[in-house]
């Protein structure tokens, strides 16, 4: 009987102790705000394109934090999905539906001869990357353009093109070495050395 009482008391004491520790730490180490939304927002590409069905990246981040699927960001592509899956510890999904292809980074260009200066694209641009005034020719600040596509539809004269970002010497990057698995496909049992790929 004594032992039962003792064990109950000990457990009670432990419960109180840990409760106090938890309570203390919840006050002491309180994290203000909702960091998970910030973290998700940090992963999203910030094109503000609205292809996820939300008006901007942050609303989608909030929505993801509330349990929405992570595969609705075509500009981010599979890499973003993987990063989100890693962050939220959920399963990696395929990119949603129609946008299943690999995203090619593009930026908007205005064919300036055709621009009539209607300012519609300026209003549509979520990041203020289009310069111009009414009745004046508009132009895109290429460095600021996120390639969100939102300016293309409002243009009444269809003078905006989404062009892929040109690869040049300054933004060129080294290719990853070929996947050994693929090289092995070429090796045959006769032990012949495979032809090394010619890159032209």
């Amino acid at each position: 009987m004594i032992s039962i009482v003792m064990s109950v008391l000990v457990l009670l004491g432990l419960a109180v102790l840990f409760g106090l520790i938890l309570g203390f730490s919840s006050i002491k180490f309180h994290v203000a705000g909702n960091p998970i939304v910030d973290q998700i927002d940090g992963i999203l590409p910030q094109t503000q394109c609205g292809q996820c069905g939300h008006p901007g990246c942050r609303p989608y981040a909030e929505s993801i934090a509330n349990g929405e699927a992570i595969n609705k960001c075509p500009p981010g592509g599979q890499a973003t999905i993987e990063a989100l899956a890693d962050l939220l510890d959920v399963e990696v999904l395929e990119l949603d539906g129609e946008h299943a292809d690999i995203p090619i980074k593009t930026v908007a260009y205005i064919r300036e001869d055709e621009c009539i200066g209607c300012t519609k694209c300026i209003q549509a641009c979520p990041v203020d990357a289009i310069l111009g005034a009414a009745k004046q020719m508009h132009t895109v600040i290429i460095d600021e353009c996120t390639g969100c596509d939102l300016c293309v539809a409002p243009c009444p004269v269809d003078c905006i093109d989404m062009l892929p970002i040109a690869s040049n010497i300054t933004n060129w990057k080294w290719q990853a070495p070929a996947d050994p698995q693929q090289v092995f496909q070429q090796i045959i049992a006769t032990d012949k050395r495979p032809e090394v790929e010619l890159q032209s």
């Binding site: 927002d41 910030q46 094109t47 990246c57 203020d128 996120t146 990853a176 070495p177 050395r193 032209s200």
Partner: protein, 862 residues
């Protein structure tokens, strides 16, 4: 001879330098076309300053430096600019970049140039600018602008100048041959550098596989005024790496993220030193360099003094290019160089070697096997990284871990790949990982900027919406106010009421006249027998119209008159008050007379009372006349002034109520004192008269202020006239009641004294009648108003009921006090109880006052 230390790792690849050192430096043939890249150095590309078709001379500047971290480019030979545009350039990507193409004329005509007679005469800054203007950048491989390297801040104190002559890469012998043939020029270049840097120690670091060059240098330094050490270091790749050479010669490590100058060292390539000498001594810009052309793919491996911009094809041709024996073309050494596949790529300032390798010489690598973590790479890494760990992380794209393993300290020397038994292209993994990390960082930066811009835009839009909303609200208020103003103007005709009436009267008389005229005409028409029926009808119609007009005008006149008399009500009230005061005065005088006749006690008291009443009466009269004047003024001139007056009116009303209560209490006390024959009767009487004076002034003031308010419109126009009526009636009723009570109290007093007064009784009866009448009329008016379903009315009704409640409570208080007096006089035992009940009533009274006040203030807020 300095002490030689060592660095971690390193490898000993086959040197293969002997092939190209057999022959002296030859001059490369002048090509037909020179393609001079605008970016041959680290930093900003220079900008073309010539146009297509321009004739340029050898050594003429054709590209201006852009910013401090840049150098200009010069024409390597005389000729005509044929193109400025994209052309293949020596770069691992194989992508084109902007080049200036010059069609040479074979004249090799120099632009006027001359060396500096005495460079020591120039200041450091001038000398550095001079070096920069000659287009000199590091010729060891990276192409770091030399001027930037020499332009040191004050916090850098240089102890050691190291001349990098190690040339550790296999195959390359450009520096070796340069030292063999131009050792004295190199020493002269060091002289210039030493003048700029003023180091205490100059070391030429050279690998021990170049004995001839070492000998040449040692001979050359014999005559030098500085103490220069030629230190031969053991042949080990990559001893020619800047940081590795510094460690070899000084055993100092350049701190991570720092530059050699941080540890008091400046390191310059031997080729750069030579170029500096050419620039200082002859004024020649950097337009040529020594290039090794070697490998099994050429017949005559050799070093060439080559003009910048010479296509590789020309160089290879000069060395006896065997196209069929060449499987890869390498720019730079076999360890760090990159392959190209375009022979039209030109020589740049950093091109030190071209290797045309045969397939036997450099066989295609076997496919990579799995890493067995053998650790060979770790043993050879000159930076002491863990290459195999980096490989795992780079492969699995765990870039944060790769960075933690100091990926960015990798110098890409290729030692790890060289020793890897599994043929893993480690360097390529690192290069890819580095660019991927940089790209990621850039994307991150870009997305951060995008986020900021997006949020800024959203905020701006939000602000715009809010501003619009507030503006709209302001406009709506403005409009409402304007509307109200208009209504006010419509309601309160700008004309004096009398004038208005006059106008209406005139209108009426005019209409009357018109009707009479028409009637006369009509009568004449009827009398004339020949008149047609239609004419008679027309005349009849006209007459009827005129009569209608007349009726309307008369109605307008009639309806105008009540509106006109609205402000008079208060004046009437004041009149009543004044009359009342005079009545009281008369009454008092009568009482005094009575008393005097009967020689009763309290004559003095009555006299004072009469005096006070006289004062009251006069003040009431004064108030009346004041009010009537003021009312006229406010009604006719300034409708806006009514607004602030509303608040005043309410305050005044409350003041009136309080004053009245006080007065009543004082009166009660006075009467009690009179009854008991107290000593302080005179004082009390004085206070009563004072209070009553105050009350009457307060009432007067209240009436004056409230009068215009009550005429003020409150959205709907129709009840505006009823309200003042109602209030007046109520006030009248209240006054009548008060009078009645006073009379009652007097009667009681007299009855206590057993002196029935018939006159007083008659007075009471009259007052009772009056009270009933006023109350009835008041109720009637109230009913008529409450029948109108209006919020404004409800509020007014509520106010009225509150006021009524207050009045009732007041009267109750009075009665209770009277009862108390009576009881005290009778020495009744219930005195205590009654006192308590009086107290209760007084709290009730206060509550009622408070409620009224609250109601008024809430109305104020609205």
């Amino acid at each position: 001879m300095g002490k030689v230390f060592s660095f971690h790792g390193g490898i000993h690849p086959p040197e293969n330098k002997h092939q190209s050192t057999q022959l002296p430096i030859a001059t490369a043939p002048l090509p037909k076309l020179l393609h001079i890249p605008l970016q041959q150095h680290i930093g900003a590309a220079s900008k073309a300053c010539v146009k297509i078709g321009d004739k340029v001379l050898k050594g003429q500047r054709i590209g201006d430096a852009q910013g401090d971290f840049s150098v200009p480019v010069h024409a390597s030979s005389s000729g005509i600019v044929t193109a400025i545009g994209n052309h293949a350039v020596p770069h691992p990507s194989g992508m084109p970049a902007t080049c200036i193409s010059i069609e040479t004329d074979g004249q090799e005509q120099w632009i006027a140039h001359s060396g500096l007679a005495d460079f020591t005469a120039l200041s450091s800054a001038e000398l550095i600018d001079y070096i920069r203007d000659r287009g000199i950048c590091g010729m060891g491989g990276a192409g770091f602008p030399t001027a930037v390297k020499l332009h040191l801040g004050d916090h850098h104190i240089i102890n050691t100048l190291i001349i990098n002559a190690a040339e550790c890469e296999p195959y390359i012998s450009a520096d070796d041959l340069l030292m063999r043939e131009h050792a004295e020029h190199i020493i002269a270049g060091i002289d210039v550098l030493q003048h700029l840097i003023k180091a205490s120690h100059i070391i030429i670091g050279i690998e021990d596989n170049k004995p001839q060059a070492i000998r040449a240098l040692e001979t050359a330094i014999a005559g030098c005024r500085y103490n220069i050490d030629v230190v031969s270091v053991p042949t080990k790749y990559p001893s020619g790496g800047e940081k590795q050479l510094i460690q070899l010669l000084t055993n100092i490590e350049v701190p991570h993220g720092g530059i050699p100058a941080d540890v008091g060292i400046v390191c310059q390539n031997v080729g750069t030193v030579y170029a500096i000498h050419r620039a200082i001594a002859y004024g020649e810009s950097l337009i040529s360099r020594v290039v090794t052309v070697t490998g099994d793919g050429v017949n005559k491996p050799q070093n060439f003094e080559t003009l910048i911009g010479t296509p590789f094809s020309a160089l290879l041709e000069a060395a006896g290019y065997l196209q069929n024996n060449t499987s890869r073309l390498i720019v730079g050494g076999p360890m760090m160089g990159y392959t190209i596949d375009d022979l039209e790529i030109p020589v740049s300032k950093t091109t030190n070697c071209i290797i045309a390798a045969s397939p036997q010489e450099m066989p295609a690598p076997d496919p990579a096997l799995a890493c067995i973590r053998c650790g060979q790479c770790e043993q050879v890494c000159p930076v002491q990284l863990l290459p195999q760990q980096l490989h795992w992380y780079a492969k699995s794209q765990e870039y944060d871990k790769a960075q933690q393993h100091n990926l960015f300290d990798c110098i890409e020397c290729g030692a790890c790949s060289f020793v890897c038994p599994s043929n893993i292209p480690l360097v390529q993994y690192y290069r890819h990982a580095k660019t991927a990390i940089k790209e990621e960082a850039q994307d991150k930066r870009k997305s951060d900027i995008a986020r900021q811009r997006f949020e800024a835009k959203q905020m701006r839009e939000q602000r715009a919406i809010e501003e619009k909303a507030t503006k709209r609200k302001a406009r709506a208020e403005q409009a409402a106010k304007a509307q109200a103003e208009k209504q006010k103007v419509a309601q309160q005709p700008p004309l004096d009421s009398a004038e208005q009436q006059q106008l209406l009267k005139q209108q009426v008389s005019a209409e009357k006249l018109n009707v009479e005229q028409l009637q006369q005409q009509f009568a004449v028409l009827q009398t004339q027998s020949n008149t047609e029926a239609s004419a008679i009808q027309l005349g009849d119609l006209q007459l009827k119209k005129a009569q209608l007009n007349l009726q309307r005008a008369e109605q307008a006149l009639l309806s105008y008159q009540p509106a006109d008399c609205a402000p008079d009500i208060d004046i009437k009230k004041l009149k009543v008050a004044a009359a009342m005061a005079s009545t009281k005065l008369k009454k008092a005088q009568r009482a005094l007379k009575n008393a005097q006749e009967k020689s009763q006690p309290g004559i003095e008291l009555l006299t004072t009372t009469i005096l006070a009443l006289e004062k009251t009466a006069s003040s009431a009269n004064a108030a009346y006349s004041d009010a009537s004047n003021h009312c006229l003024a406010t009604c006719s001139t300034n409708p806006v002034s009514t607004e602030p007056a509303t608040g005043d009116a309410k305050k005044l009303k409350i003041a009136v109520a309080i004053a009245r209560t006080k007065l009543k209490r004082a009166q009660a006390q006075l009467s009690k004192a009179t009854a008991e024959g107290a000593d302080n009767l005179a004082e009390l009487a004085q206070s009563v008269t004072d209070l009553s004076a105050k009350l009457s002034t307060a009432e007067a003031a209240f009436k004056v202020t409230s009068a215009p308010i009550q005429t003020q419109p409150t959205g709907d126009s129709h009840p505006s006239r009823d309200q003042p009526d109602l209030k007046t009636l109520k006030t009248m009723a209240a006054i009548a009641r008060t009078k009645l009570k006073k009379a009652h109290s007097q009667l009681e007093k007299l009855s206590v004294e057993d002196q029935p007064d018939h006159q007083l009784l008659a007075e009471i009866a009259r007052l009772e009648e009056k009270v009933l009448k006023t109350q009835a009329s008041y109720l009637q008016a109230k009913d008529s108003i409450s029948s109108q379903p209006d919020a404004e009315q409800n509020k007014a009704a509520k106010q009225a009921s509150l006021e009524e409640h207050l009045q009732k409570t007041l009267s109750l208080f009075d009665r209770a006090q009277q009862a108390l007096q009576k009881a005290e006089a009778n020495k009744s035992p219930a005195v205590e109880k009654m006192r308590i009940s009086i107290e209760k009533i007084s709290t009730k009274l206060a509550a009622a006052e408070h409620a009224l006040q609250q109601h008024n203030s809430s109305q104020d807020q609205e």
